[in-house]
Amino acid sequence: MTPTLRVIAAWLAALFLVIGLSAANANEAAPAVADPVLEARMLAITAELRCLVCQNQTIADSHADLAIDLRQQVRELLQKGMTDQQITDYMTERYGDFVLYRPPFKSTTVLLWVGPGVLLVLGLLGLVLVLRRRSRMPEDRFDAEEPEGPQDQAPAA
């Protein structure tokens, strides 16, 4: 071996040692997700909760400090054996219904839940009324206007 080769070999050995050590360290960092079941439950719960700092993100998604703390809090509450419902209650006690991505059905949210259905029913009702009135009209009411409105007809293919 020439001296140059020996130096290269020494550097390579050092490099492999460093890589080996960092790989060993990477293994040590694993306990962050020591309990995959708990972590999955935590993520399922926090995915239903709104982060108060970045309000259009869930606590599961957000990188805000508060969201990180709250994820940790949920982990600890799960370890204490609290149910999902108890944890959701814990959050609403502190931050209000605002944290829930699915708002509960109560007197203040009736319009929110029932509103779209009521609008749909009203729309259908209106449609039925108009159609029924038209069906009772004499045929010539429609025919008479047709020559004047060719733009309403479907274009020829």
Partner: protein, 180 residues
Amino acid sequence: MKYLKFLLPLAIFLVLVGFLMRGLSLDPREVPSPLINKPAPAFALAGLEKPDTTFKRDDMLGKVWLLNVFASWCVACREEHPLLVEFSRMKMLPIYGLNYKDERIAGMKWLASFGNPYEASLYDHDGRVGIDYGVYGVPESFLIDAKGVIRYKQIGPFTPESIETKLIPLVQQLKKEAGI
């Protein structure tokens, strides 16, 4: 009946405009706290300057007091702080600081350089008490009555107007209620 065809869409449009106008003046960042008119959550925290003294919620019973959440990293707190210092000179009620998710030295330095309006500061390093109080945007302040019930929460910094029109009248009312 003939006009209805034109007036109805116009009416719907105007109602919509009304709702949207109202929406412009609402602040979606201000989340109403469910803690209003509920007992203040219990805590036992070490002091910021005096790590070996403990402050508990029940120590404050019988007093109307203000809990102001602050941190040295909080930019809006700097804006609010001179107002609090000035307000504390009126000696209307004791103000306690909650040093939220901060480092002890940084918090103390901050108070040394910007003035200290607090009777004492509580050191909430890991933010647990902050979570119990539903803190999500520092600065926040809680006005707590003599029975230990939260009566008002200020989210974000106080302004001269909000101190004048909200805080001071409410403090006077609460003190009257408690007969202080």
